[in-house]
């Protein structure tokens, strides 16, 4: 593969002897939308935790644009261009939609930058632009805890888009969404993966088919299969372990 933007090699993390991720090798290209699927406990969320720094690896390397992520602090990894959405919507419930997005703007992240931060037009414009993309532009003044579950998921995606990351990682972005909302989210993801690498963890196979460029199947911390959706769906091992007959 041509120079991958994310190169994971021999990644292992063990909790008291249990290997949640076991000598994993994974490569993601820029502009690729990779979906990671697999049964529960396969290590999918742990993989994202390791990349964004929430969990420390026991062994192995994670190179993002040739920078070694395993040695960096979480906020430094974010500033390097990695954005991560959590399984349960992780937004600021007591602030407005506008404020949620404003806080995610990648300027004034240091203490003094924060104190001196001014809400200039470029920030406002970007907030409006992103709000439009995530279907929330008429909810900007509302407090975030008033949004529906699906809208909260969109808000979190929007917060990540504000950061303009080069690697976007989404953990079950359509969980709890209606069919219509899933279609909207699929369109959104296809649009935003145009100029960045995206990793998505999902269980909804229809949704996966709509968005995936390539699919990786994890099982017991290791890669079981990898390839296009058709190839993976036809793989007998995958059917055995996850997809069912």
């Amino acid at each position: 593969m041509a120079n991958p933007v994310l190169a994971i090699e021999d990644l292992t993390v063990s909790f008291d002897g249990f290997k949640a991720v076991d000598a994993l090798n994974l490569y993601v290209e820029a502009n690729e939308l990779r979906v990671v699927i697999g049964p529960n406990g396969a290590g999918k969320t742990t993989l994202l935790d390791l990349i964004c720094g929430r969990t420390r690896a026991t062994a192995g390397t994670i190179k993002f644009k040739n920078r070694e992520l395993t040695r960096m602090a979480e906020h430094q990894i974010v500033r390097a261009g990695v954005g991560r959405k959590f399984q349960t919507p992780s937004i600021y419930e007591n602030l407005t939609v506008f404020q949620n997005l404003e806080l995610s703007f990648p300027r004034g992240r240091g203490v003094f930058g924060c104190v001196a931060f001014k809400l200039t037009p470029d920030v406002e414009n970007r907030v409006h632009e992103i709000a439009k993309m995530i279907f929330l532009e008429d909810r900007l003044g509302d407090q975030a805890d008033l949004l529906s579950h699906g809208q909260k998921q969109w808000l979190e995606i929007g917060m990540l888009l504000m950061q303009d990351p080069e690697l976007l990682m989404l953990d079950e972005p359509v969980a709890g969404m209606s069919v219509a909302e899933r279609k909207q989210t699929a369109d959104l993801l296809n649009k935003i993966s145009d100029n960045r690498a995206v990793i998505v963890i999902e269980h909804d196979m229809e949704f996966v088919k709509n968005i995936a460029h390539r699919v990786t199947v994890l099982h017991q911390g290791k890669i079981l299969a990898e390839g296009s959706m058709d190839k993976v769906q036809a793989d007998p091992r995958v059917i055995e372990v996850y997809l069912g007959h």
Partner: protein
């Protein structure tokens, strides 16, 4: 101008609150009370600095510090050391075995001024140390704990332990610090006698000016993105971290600020009351200062001042007339504020007071107007 108005003065709402507070501090109180009582109020207002600092680090930052007495004390002791040295010139201390050093050192058979006391001959140094020493201590504590993600209850208990340690150290090192009696007999600040009536008036107003200044500075800090971020951190610290912010830096920042504000309060205390002792440093005074902020409303800078005044008035009044009752009252106050009024007086005002005031203003505005015709029946 907009910056001034919005961020420092707090817009229309904030301005009103500030005006009322200033009217109270600068006009009403000095006119109502005699000098003796006013001096007492000045003492309470020096505690208010700590409460304001707590609004910053506890109300907004979510960091409960049960050791703010440490910073109040450090600031106060720095000022006291300067004043003590000035009061211990060789002329006034000529009856001592070693003239020229503070009396408690003489009583403890010290024959020379300890090295670390020397720089406090200089007023400039004292002003600097008064802010720098507490800031440094706060910085070290904060870095050590927040970088390791120690928070909440553990942090609170450790601050208690630090307060205990400092108290024991001060009391134990009688020769260096005056021990349990503290530093007393403070007379002049750069030749200006701080015990005269005019001095007390001046110091009262200086105290108020500084207090309002501290509130304005804190407002500026809290009204921008930083205030928003602190609220976000209290809600979902992880999300803030994963949005590219080094969370610990912000906690360190507010904690150090709170420490410096408390230190100014300590220095003003020494100037107005004329002494400093370890009884203002330890666990009990520290937790009392938390109650001042809690009663006033931990999210309200102006509320902190009112809370301090109210609790201290209560304390003085009740412990004179009904000493036994006072401690029960304090206990009940603690428990009820925590359980039922988490936003203190400010919260009550927001909920009930504002509506009542607006109704009164509305009624006053409509006075003399003809009664409205009854709605047409259809």
């Amino acid at each position: 101008m907009k910056l001034m108005y919005e961020r420092i003065l707090g817009g229309k709402q904030g301005m009103m609150g500030l005006v009322v507070l200033c009217a109270l501090l600068f006009v009403v109180l000095p006119l109502t009370f005699d000098l003796f009582r006013l001096n007492l109020i000045g003492k309470y207002l020096s505690y208010a600095f700590v409460a304001v600092g707590l609004v910053l680090c506890w109300g907004y930052g979510g960091i409960l510090s049960l050791g703010q007495g440490v910073f109040f004390g450090l600031g106060g002791y720095c000022m006291a050391m300067f004043l003590k040295l000035e009061a211990s010139d060789p002329e006034s201390t000529k009856i001592q075995s070693t003239p020229g050093i503070p009396d408690f050192m003489d009583w403890n058979q010290l024959t020379a001024l300890p090295k670390f006391w020397e720089p406090f001959h200089s007023f400039t140094f004292t002003m600097f140390a008064m802010l720098a020493v507490p800031a440094l201590v706060a910085f070290i504590l904060a870095v050590a704990m927040f970088k390791r993600r120690v928070g909440g209850v553990y942090f609170a208990i450790i601050t208690q332990a630090v307060a205990a340690i400092l108290t024991i150290l001060i009391i134990g090192q009688q020769g260096l610090t005056g021990g349990v009696n503290g530093m007393t007999d403070l007379k002049t600040l750069h030749g200006w006698d701080i015990r005269t009536d005019s001095a007390k008036y001046i110091l009262y107003f200086v105290n108020c000016v500084l207090l309002v200044g501290a509130i304005l500075v804190s407002r500026y800090i809290l009204s921008g993105k930083l205030g928003l971020l602190l609220l976000a951190m209290r809600d979902k610290e992880e999300r803030v971290r994963f949005s590219g912010y080094d969370v610990s830096n912000f906690k360190i920042f507010v904690f150090v600020n709170a420490a410096m504000i408390s230190a100014i309060g300590g220095a003003m205390f020494v100037l107005q009351v004329g002494f400093m002792s370890p009884s203002l440093v330890g666990i009990i005074p520290s937790i009392e200062m938390v109650i001042f902020a809690a009663v006033g409303g931990r999210m309200s800078l102006i509320g902190a001042v009112y809370g301090t005044l109210l609790v201290n008035f209560g304390k003085t009044y009740f412990s004179e007339s009904f000493p036994q009752l006072w401690l029960f009252l304090m206990s009940a106050l603690f428990i009820s504020v925590v359980m039922f009024f988490p936003n203190g007086l400010a919260g009550l005002y927001e909920k009930y007071g504002k509506a009542w005031i607006e109704k009164r203003i509305g009624a006053w505005r409509n006075r003399g107007a003809a009664p409205r015709p009854a709605p047409q029946q259809t």
